[in-house]
């Protein structure tokens, strides 16, 4: 039982990072209508910034904030400077984001190097709860993710900004006539998703080493999570992240560990073909091709 609870917390902390990236993608793809293939690189950049700040002597949580702000700024520049011009032709935006992911990856290699980076465990404590040892940092990661999920969920479903956002997805022209600054909302969603990627990167490097190529692994899982959950559906992304984590955990324990990555791909292809709106329902993403 103790081992099971330990495993549960471990899997949850891994799933947390996946959920954060999945929420970012689900919002940007499903609500802003932009497919950002560089989103995984945003996460990697967030992790690298955290690493850099921590190794230059900053507290981890200050570094985490720094990563969120800087990656948010990166998202702002990318949206205003690049994606803004391809909103009419999402396909071009998609290709452009591939170019951007190549650039970010190699700029990071150029500035640092391609060796994997780690930071020491920021808390370095082990909580003993009911006789179960839990690494404190993992608990913090899960808790932070839960808070972010709650804020995002209620922000979109309850607040007036969330309502305005959903209105501009449902009918852009009418929403604009009602005085909703649609373009500004697109930017806002993009920056918010980028901030979450920064947070995910910071939390990820607290758990595992990160290399400049981490982003390309993470992005596939992020797309899988957001497509399983349904685009634009925050709760769905959480469900998708937990489902994927469960499948991965089970396959690593009972199946063929070398095929672990294949399951999420197969699930994603199947869902895209059979239920493009995702298991839990959502938007179909940008309508035009």
């Amino acid at each position: 039982m103790e081992i099971f609870i330990q495993q549960l917390v471990n899997s949850l902390s891994v799933a947390s990072v996946t959920i954060l990236i999945g929420i970012g993608i689900t919002l940007i793809f499903g609500l802003a209508g932009i497919v950002n293939f560089a989103h995984g690189e945003f996460l990697m950049v967030g992790g690298m910034i955290t690493w850099f700040l921590v190794t230059s002597g900053l507290n981890f949580f200050a570094a985490l904030l720094g990563a969120m702000i800087l990656v948010g700024a990166l998202g702002f520049i990318a949206e205003r400077g690049l994606f803004r011009f391809t909103l009419e032709r999402p396909m071009n935006g998609f290709i452009m984001s591939i170019g951007m992911s190549v650039i970010l990856q190699h700029v990071v290699i150029r500035i640092f190097n391609e060796v994997q980076k780690t930071i020491p465990d920021p808390i370095g404590k082990v909580w003993v709860i009911g006789g179960v040892d839990i690494i404190a940092m993992r608990g913090v990661v899960v808790a932070l993710t839960a808070v972010v999920v709650a804020i995002t969920y209620f922000g979109i479903s309850r607040s007036r900004y969330g309502m305005a956002l959903r209105a501009s997805i449902a009918d852009q022209d009418t929403a604009a006539l009602m005085g909703i600054p649609v373009r500004r909302y697109v930017t806002g969603v993009f920056v918010y998703g980028s901030v979450l990627a920064g947070l995910g990167g910071a939390l990820m490097i607290a758990l595992f080493p990160i290399t400049p190529f981490t982003g390309s692994v993470v992005i596939i899982r992020g797309f899988a999570v957001s497509l399983i959950g349904g685009l634009g559906n925050v709760g769905g992304a959480v469900g998708g992240g937990l489902l994927l984590g469960l499948v991965d955990g089970l396959s690593a324990g009972y199946g063929f560990p070398e095929w672990t990555d294949a399951y999420s791909l197969v699930v994603m292809i199947a869902i895209l073909i059979v239920r493009p709106q995702g298991l839990f329902g959502g938007t179909l993403g940008p309508r035009s091709t």
Partner: protein
């Protein structure tokens, strides 16, 4: 009007002959080992790019998993040579057919989902194939891959000599360009354009869009198969890393960079990406960055790619001169 049409067709022939002539005499210009081998790689890449350019430029179906079909061609050749002892010329039709078949199979979802969703499917498929090749044990050689021998001599031509390998690739490229040219300018090409521009309308006037979409994807896959078998026999060793998601992304970027619609677009893209870093003496990291920045600039400023940009500049110069 008639005069200008005649003029432009004359221009086309002159351009084609000039490019063809340059490609034929290239090995005699003393390019050295490095540039000649680079030219071979470029030619092989260009063959695959023509397939991708056809499906994206004419039918509007993009793919970021195209390296997978090159991989199918290459692995077909390597496995046939390793297990059955079949040489290049025997394996060639099998590589082409199997790549085309797999491309058609992967294309089936494109009938149901479109746009970005289909692109993500192609990416997933490519990653999936990569995992399968890596875990394939002795059959696919695992992560280290397979060794491939030499191309059987015909008429005593030794294709291990770089110059002969170059001519083989150029011949294949030439055939491929001719095929693409004929497709683009046939009624079949115009059917594809109709599907690209307005699929519901194309269906409404009785075009069997499903059939043509799978058809064009199979042609594209067949060209990837040719590129794959040429690559396998040129490199003498193949591994899954050559055909993973990353090479696929680069193929997609090359097509966008060169331009998918014009006949020389894919060739221009392949040449820029392979030769420019060498000429400008960039190291691999800087050249990747330059490559990405170039792509952003092309998409924002020259949506038709570099080839369309060059063509437009040429047109503009000519009209200036006539005034």
């Amino acid at each position: 009007m008639a005069a200008s049409a005649e003029n432009s067709s004359k221009e086309k022939i002159v351009a084609a002959v000039a490019i063809g002539l340059f490609l034929v005499i290239f090995p005699w210009l003393n390019p050295g080992y490095r540039y000649l081998s680079l030219a071979i790689t470029t030619g092989i890449t260009a063959i695959a790019l023509y397939g991708l350019g056809l499906q994206f430029g004419q039918a509007g179906i993009m793919s970021v998993g195209h390296a997978a079909f090159i991989g199918v061609g290459a692995y077909t050749a390597a496995i046939l040579s390793g297990n059955v002892g079949a040489g290049f010329w025997v394996a060639l039709p099998f590589s082409i057919l199997l790549s085309a078949f797999i491309a058609g199979l992967v294309g089936l979802p494109s009938l149901r989902v479109s746009g970005q969703h289909y692109i993500i499917i192609t990416f997933c498929f490519c990653a999936l194939l990569n995992i399968a090749l890596t875990n394939g044990g002795a059959f696919t050689g695992g992560a280290t891959g397979l060794d491939v021998g030499s191309i059987d001599r015909i008429f005593e031509i030794n294709f291990d000599q770089l110059r002969n390998a170059y001519y083989l690739v150029i011949l294949a490229l030439f055939i491929c360009v001719v095929v693409i040219y004929l497709i683009i300018n046939s009624s079949y090409g115009r059917t594809l354009n109709a599907i690209r521009e307005n699929e519901p309308l194309a269906r409404a006037v009785g075009i069997n869009a499903n059939l043509h979409k799978i058809g064009v994807l199979m042609v594209s896959g067949a060209l990837a198969g040719v590129a794959g078998i040429l690559q396998a026999y040129y490199l003498h060793h193949i591994s899954p890393a050559l055909y993973g998601p990353f090479p696929s992304l680069y193929l997609a970027l090359m097509v966008m960079l060169g331009g998918a619609r014009l006949i020389y677009g894919p060739l221009v893209g392949a040449i820029i990406v392979n030769f420019l870093p060498e000429i400008m003496r960039l190291d691999p990291i800087d050249s990747r960055i330059a490559y990405g920045v170039g792509l952003l600039i092309v998409i924002l400023l020259l949506p038709g790619g570099v080839s369309a940009g060059l063509f437009g500049a040429y047109r503009w110069l000519m009209s200036k001169r006539q005034q």
